[in-house]
Each structure stands twice: as C-alpha cells, then as structure tokens.
C-alpha cells in the first residue's frame, strides 16, 4: 500500500517539469496526484479491507478521506484555473481540445454528487444509498483514472498506470462483493 502510493508520489515530486512551473501550478498538479492516490484508499476503507482498522473506524476514515478528496479536487481545479484561466474555462464548458478534460470534469461532478449524497444519506433507503453512491463513486474512479492516464504531466507513466489500475480494481471489487454476499444470503430471491 505504502509502495503503490509512495512510488507515484515520489516520481511526481522529482519530475523535471517542476523546475519550470510556479508554486500555484505545482500545488494544483500535486492536488490532482493526491486525489488519484485517495481513489485507491477510498474503496478499501469503504469495504473495511485495510488491515488494523475496525469497520466503524474504517467507515469514519472513509468520510474523512472523502472530504479530503473533495478538497483536493477543488484545489486542483482552482490552482489550474489561476495558472491558465482560459484552459480551465474551456474544460468546464466541455470545449477543451484536450481529450482528458471531459473525463476529469465528469469525475469531478460525480465526486461532488457522491459527497452530497453522503450528506443526505439518512433520508435515503440503504438500498438506494448504496446503489447511488457506488455508481457515482465508480464514475469518479473510472473517469479520474482515464483523465490521469491521458495527461502528460509530472507523474511517471508506469507507476501512474499501476495506481489507476489498482484503484479501478479495488472499486469494482468493493462494489460487487457486498452484492454477491447479499445474493448468497438470499438464494431464492430474484
């Protein structure tokens, strides 16, 4: 775990491109890298699969990390907007020439929706909540991973690909396992 997050972070922190960027651009880029790292942590916390964490503490950590994820994405977009306002305006209006923008924007809105849903979760039935939150989270992880893969930036390509793949796998497994368990528990139900 430390390795899968530490290696891409380490490569990004030692990228030669940093020498030619100002501090705001560097912070914005890093906020994006950190957000990508958190995408791997989130499904593991939600499912309670991180060793040494009790389910309840794991869920509480999932909420804290979720908040951190929202903050990271806001810092990422705001920092890039300060760096180059027209490029970010194009991206948000879906007019950007860069193929990765639309994936990032989709992931951002899905993230905000997933977080908003978590805030009103008590008003939803457990079934609706789980289905909606899991679907939105899948869009966040898939969209975020494609966004990151298409970008030529400070991240080293192989460690980035490994991180994205693990985040996608963890999300898919964490989404499917409870559903499979529920089916096994109620075999006759269709």
């Amino acid at each position: 775990m430390l390795l899968t997050l530490g290696v891409p972070l380490g490569f990004a922190a030692s990228s030669e491109y940093l020498a030619w960027r100002d501090p705001i651009y560097i912070s914005a880029g890093f906020a994006g890298v950190i957000a990508l790292c958190l995408l791997l942590v989130q499904p593991l916390l939600a499912a309670g699969w991180l060793p040494g964490l009790h389910v309840l503490r794991s869920r509480r950590a999932h909420r804290v990390v979720g908040t951190a994820l929202v903050v990271s994405v806001i810092v990422h977009v705001t920092g890039l907007w300060i760096t180059s306002p027209p490029d970010i305006e194009d991206a948000l209006l879906l007019l950007s020439p860069t193929p990765f923008s639309v994936w990032g924007v989709a992931a951002m809105w899905a993230l905000f929706a997933a977080a908003l849903l978590a805030a009103v979760r008590r008003r939803l039935s457990p079934r609706t909540w789980r289905l909606a939150h899991t679907s939105l989270a899948s869009v966040v992880v898939f969209g975020g991973a494609v966004h990151a893969m298409l970008i030529e930036g400070t991240m080293e390509p192989i460690s980035k690909a490994v991180l994205c793949a693990l985040a996608a796998i963890a999300t898919a497994v964490a989404a499917v396992v409870p559903w499979l368990r529920a089916r096994r528990r109620a075999p006759g139900r269709r």
């Binding site: 890039l80 027209p86 490029d87 194009d90 950007s96 020439p97 860069t98 298409l150 030529e152 930036g153």
Partner: protein, 162 residues
Amino acid sequence: MSEIGFERRALLLGGGALATAGVAGLDLPARASGLAATPTMRGGANNYIPGAQIVERIGGGGFVISGTVRRAGDGAPLAGQRIQMWAHTKEGSESDPRSHGATLTDANGVFRLEMPQIIPALGQAHAHLAYDSMEFETVFLRPLLSSARDTSLEAHFVLQRA
C-alpha cells in the same frame, strides 16, 4: 385529389429547384478554391496577448517553430505576413509576455522562429500560433508536439481574405 396532386407537383418543383441550387452552390466554391482556409483550432487563442513584438528569437531559443502561410484558393505563398507564437517553455509560462513573440514570412511564405524548449503544460506539450493582421481572417492554431522531447514543430496557415 387534385389538391394533393398540386402539392406533390409543388414539392417536386421545390425539390428540383433546391437540387439545382445545391449543385450550383457546390460548384461555386469549388471553382473559387482548390485550397481550403485553415480553421481556428479549439483553445488556440488561450493566453493570447495581442501585438507581440517581432523578435530575432523568443528568450534563449533552441526550439524551432516553422511553417508556411498561403492564400486560400490558389495556394499562393504570402510574403511579409506576421505570425505570432507563444508556449509554456523552460523560460516562462504561456501567460508571461516574454513567452510571446512574432516573426514575418519570407518571399516564399515561410516563417521560422526559435523559442526556449517547450514543456508540457496543462497536460499536453503544445504551442500556440496566431495570424491576426486583419488583411486576412484571423486564425489561431494549437499544434501538439508528437513527443515532449521534440525540439521543433511545424504549423501551416492557409488564409482567406477578411
């Protein structure tokens, strides 16, 4: 019955007229232009600063941007046309005025200007070029480097009269 027949005839006539107009319409630009004008690219005008100075090179140079400027239709080379360019380089970001410069095309419509090495910015290694001298329609280009290690880039303009 006769009414329906009339409508059908009107429709046929209308359709025929439209087809004739369509063919004539297609014929006209085909005669006028062998070479179509270059369209402005999405995001091409981002971080544009009007009126960049004509310079020997931008900053310390090292990265070559070259290309041609031709007239739409007959493709004749256009001499003395001012092309502006800017990018995120080793010496500054796109919005820095010192990252901007302009040059003129020679008698063969060819331009060439050096700028510092381009660095990927906002996710892609790219440059911006502009023709904005009013005589022809304004065009903004945003070509990509095929690799961030590239040390040159070509971009070509085909301009139509404003």
